[in-house]
Amino acid sequence: MTVEKILTWFYACKTTDVPENGGVCVKYNDEQIALFHFTRRNEWYATQNECPHRQQMALSRGMIGSQNGEPKVACPFHKRTFSLITGECLSDDECSIKTYEVKIEDGNVFIAVEE
């Protein structure tokens, strides 16, 4: 049996609100979501904003890039890096982060959250 996740899409911001190849933080109720526009790859990603290493709300201010093709974000505090696709920590650590689906419609960015 597969359990269907019920996803709700909410409007986050305009595509132009997000810096090229960078991130912003989106507020959804009490949740903080880091949204990234990987302009170079023409891709959008969203993850939790909190870095699990020292529980800092900072990933949206991190630098994005890739490691062997895998898109990643580096936390500005101690440079732990996380895959933007799986949320897995790439700096051989144990912690991982939550990721969210993103879609773009007419220049508007939507993020999917589980209800």
């Binding site: 090229e20 960078g22 912003v24 709300m57 630098m63 890039g65 500005p76």
Partner: protein, 833 residues
């Protein structure tokens, strides 16, 4: 076969890890641990005080055990072994049968029977819980003491200092510190160093009672003296945990420890003992590396291999921050066995002793205090019995005159079986073949492939040397490239970017690199672009390539707030400007502190407040201090001839001129300077990247000094020059550095790696041997002419100003997770976990 392990400490864990790696799933493994959490890194326990959490210290998470089919039962010590029926019983009443039982019960702190040890405020130093209890108690304590001046005792004493107990005393019973590792002369130097850290040391002191009613208030010694203390840590040695073995009738030593043979078998052939509970050849090995070796021997035996344990080297290096202490091989050689060569520099606090065989060929052991950089090399020379050079004193003095031995020659002379990483038992041969056979060409790759360097990390520099050496012998040209996206060094990239006139990060990546970039190449490329074109660093396209601190023009602090550092050239400031800083700090509730660089730092600003704060500062005539940038920080000055009775020239005016000339210049690392008005050097100019000291006839210019972790004094570049020449030389010097240094390399390190050293540099800067002087001076003129305050530009550009909000969809709201605590009438960042 069912294997039951009692004890989930460092060695018990390592046993599981090695067993799983050898033969997954063939054995059923059950582990019982007494502590509440899975095995953690006890060796680095003290880092708990430096901010590491219990989770950071874990050797592996609980999930690791279940993923590898290991049943882990924590908080449940074993209380009984029934050898006849091969069964054990736990405290909670669980009964497990076993085919093979492994005892890895470790040791406990030895607490001498001093009257009063049970009082509150008396601690031992072994588990995370001990540290948590100490942390809580230390809040109320002002004075502290440690019984025991050995390795662990000194570590505990440093921990007390870190806990804020500034008055901490060490009580050692023996006539010297670390009596088992170092000699009297070494102990004296060490004692001196520790006293300069703030510790008080007593040797030859024997505690007779711990005073106080319920809680400790003081200590009484056998020489009839007393001291007052609020808190005590006992670190007088270890006691193997052999109580379970004893009760099961296994043979134990007269002074404790479970007796084992070369296979680590106890007197019952189905029961093994490993780690600190095992007694081999009348010896308890109180270090982690021998424990790991024991685990390896038992795993080999259980998986059909052949290995034996025949003792282990007990060389150690103390981890105390700020004091290097190491002892290896046999540190005290008797006069008939060999002779000692000693270097003692009481001024610098360095003591080095090497013991060599009577024929002068072999290194038997030694002691290093104050400077233990040579530890790895000497340890290997000693263990591998490498034949010593004809003048063995060279190995501690460095060769003087004649041909200088290069560093690489050091690792090359080691035999293949030299143990490089003793935590993981990895030899030179294994590391070299990971380079040749498994094509590991980065230290990280070698770490992943061999596990070398993943324990205490002390061998990492040597791994790097070996890697470079092996690659060179393979005929590989070892390139110093930025990262996987650029096949160029910073210097090559600098020239190419200039030649091709590339202006944005993406252009550089398209033209010269591959992939999408990363946090390793973005900041250096952004810095090259800034140095070359001097455009606004937050211009579109380059903003997100800047290191996060540059992107927000402020340094991120604990908790996610930022610091604000206005430039205060030369440290000179008017009363009116001081008032502005004070009122801005008050309005935005900022913590204020005078920095080590003669200016004022305002901490705890919300991202959203940054533009408003800077608006007010700029309106009052301030500008960015670039505290976040790899660029000029401060030019410190002393008061100089305007007031000082010794001043030769006006050092403040010159410092201001220098600071305003080079402000905003982007460079491979930060730049600092200082100007002193006379030889008394109150501005500490000689510890700066470039420093200027007044002489009767003009200025002396010094370059490439550094504070930081490896301090180094600046060297004289030119003497008795006038202000104009001085500035000309600095222009050239800085441009040469900006163009040729690797990323994050300070001028001192840059010079240390430069062939020909200061003489070469002087030739380039003063005699213009490269013919670049005119061009560099013109480029610097352009920099000066185009300088603009970044913060001014940021607040005036709506597009940029908009970026300073925490929530893109609620720009007015501050990050609700930011929390502060109060301290001395101001605030501080909430402690992180």
């Amino acid at each position: 076969m069912k294997i039951v392990v009692i004890g989930n400490g460092m060695v018990g864990y390592k046993f599981c890890e090695k067993l799983v790696a050898k033969q997954s799933n063939q054995h059923k493994i059950v582990v019982f641990g007494e502590e509440i959490r899975p095995a953690y890194d006890r060796v680095h326990l003290s880092e708990f005080f430096a901010g590491k959490s219990a989770d950071d210290l874990l050797m592996a998470t609980a999930d690791w055990y279940s993923e590898n089919n290991i049943q882990l039962l924590l908080s449940d010590p074993i209380i009984h072994i029934d050898r006849a029926n091969k069964k054990i019983t736990s405290h909670h009443g669980l009964v497990e049968d076993y085919d093979i039982l492994v005892l890895a019960t470790g040791s406990a702190a030895f607490v001498p029977p001093i009257p009063g040890v049970e009082k509150q405020g008396v601690f031992i130093y072994r588990t995370i819980e001990d540290l948590e209890l100490m942390t809580a108690y230390a809040k109320k304590a002002k004075t502290g003491a440690v019984i025991g001046g050995g390795l662990l005792g000194l570590e505990a004493a440093k921990a007390m200092l870190d806990l804020g107990i500034v008055d901490t005393q060490v009580i050692e019973f023996a006539p010297r510190l670390m009596p088992r590792q170092i000699d009297d002369a070494g102990s004296k130097i060490l004692q001196h160093k520790l006293e300069s850290l703030g510790l008080t040391i007593h040797t030859n002191k024997n505690t007779s009672a711990i005073l106080g009613d319920d809680r400790i208030t003081g200590m009484q010694f056998t020489d009839d003296t007393q001291i007052d203390v609020d808190m005590l840590v006992i670190s007088a040695g270890i006691k193997p945990r052999d109580e379970l073995a004893k009760q099961a009738g296994l043979a134990v030593g007269p002074r404790g420890g479970i007796m084992v043979n070369e296979q680590l078998q106890t007197s019952d052939e189905n029961i093994y003992a490993i780690g600190e509970c095992a007694l081999y050849n009348n010896m308890i090995y109180g270090l982690v590396a021998p424990g790991y070796e024991m685990a390896d021997v038992v795993v080999a035996k259980l998986t059909g291999g052949e290995k034996t344990f025949t003792g282990f080297d007990m060389s150690t290096k103390l981890k105390l921050i700020g004091v290097d202490v190491a002892s290896f091989g046999n540190p005290f050689v008797a006069s008939n066995e060999g002779r000692a060569i000693v270097l003692e520099d009481t001024h610098k606090g360095i003591y080095k002793r090497i013991n060599i065989s009577n024929d002068g060929k072999e290194l038997l052991g030694g002691i290093l205090i104050g400077d233990a950089d040579a530890y790895n090399m000497l340890l290997q020379t000693c263990k591998s019995k490498v034949v010593l050079p004809p003048n063995p004193e060279d190995i501690i003095l460095g060769s003087r005159g004649g041909s200088e031995a290069s560093e690489g020659a050091g690792v090359a002379s080691l035999p293949d079986d030299a143990l490089i990483c003793s935590c993981e038992a990895i030899t030179k041969g294994m590391i070299c073949s990971s380079v040749t056979d498994a094509a590991c060409e980065t230290v990280d790759a070698i770490k992943k492939c061999t596990k070398a360097g993943t324990g205490c990390g002390g061998c990492v520099p040597m791994i790097k040397d070996l890697m470079v050496h092996t690659m060179k012998t393979q005929g590989k040209y070892v390139r110093n490239v930025l990262c996987e996206h650029f096949d160029y060094s910073r210097q090559e990239l600098f020239d190419l970017v200039k030649l091709k006139e590339l202006k944005t990060y993406d252009e550089v990546l398209n033209e010269l690199g591959k992939g999408d970039g990363c946090e390793l190449c973005k900041p250096p490329v952004a810095s090259i672009l800034a140095s070359l074109w001097n455009e606004l660093i937050l211009a579109k396209g380059n903003d997100t390539a800047q290191d996060s601190n540059d992107r927000f023009l402020a340094n991120i602090q604990k908790g996610g707030t930022y610091s604000v550092v206005p430039r205060i050239p030369g440290g000179e400031i008017t009363p009116d400007k001081l008032i502005v800083i004070g009122s801005v700090a008050k309005k935005y509730n900022l913590y204020t502190k005078i920095t080590g660089g003669q200016r004022i730092d305002l901490f705890g600003a919300h991202l959203t407040d940054l533009p408003n704060i800077w608006q007010e500062l700029i309106d009052a005539g301030f500008e960015s201090g670039h505290a976040y940038g790899k660029s000029l920080r401060t030019v410190k000055s002393c008061v100089g001839s305007t007031w000082c009775r010794f001043g030769l020239h006006d050092s403040v005016s010159f410092a201001i001129e220098i600071e305003e000339r080079y402000r905003g210049l982007r460079s491979p690392h930060k730049l600092k300077s200082g100007v002193s008005g006379c030889i008394r050097e109150c501005a500490e100019a000689k510890s700066k990247d470039f420093g200027i000291i007044a002489t009767e006839k003009g200025w002396n210019l010094f370059v490439c000094g550094n504070g930081g972790s490896k301090p180094q004094h600046a060297l004289l570049l030119a003497s008795d020059i006038d202000s104009e020449t001085c500035i000309k030389y600095i222009d050239r010097f800085l441009m040469f550095y900006v163009k040729t240094a690797d990323p994050l390399t300070r001028t001192a390190t840059w010079l240390n790696k430069m062939e020909g050293g200061i003489d070469y540099l002087r030739n380039v800067v003063v005699n213009d041997s490269l013919g670049m002087a005119a061009q560099w001076e013109t480029e610097m003129k352009l920099h000066v002419a185009t300088y603009e305050c970044e913060w001014k530009a940021a607040i005036e550009t709506p597009e940029i100003r908009k970026r300073f909000s925490h929530f893109v969809n609620a720009p007015e709201e501050k990050d609700p997770t930011v929390k502060f605590d109060e301290m001395r009438e101001m605030k501080k960042a909430k402690e992180w976990k």
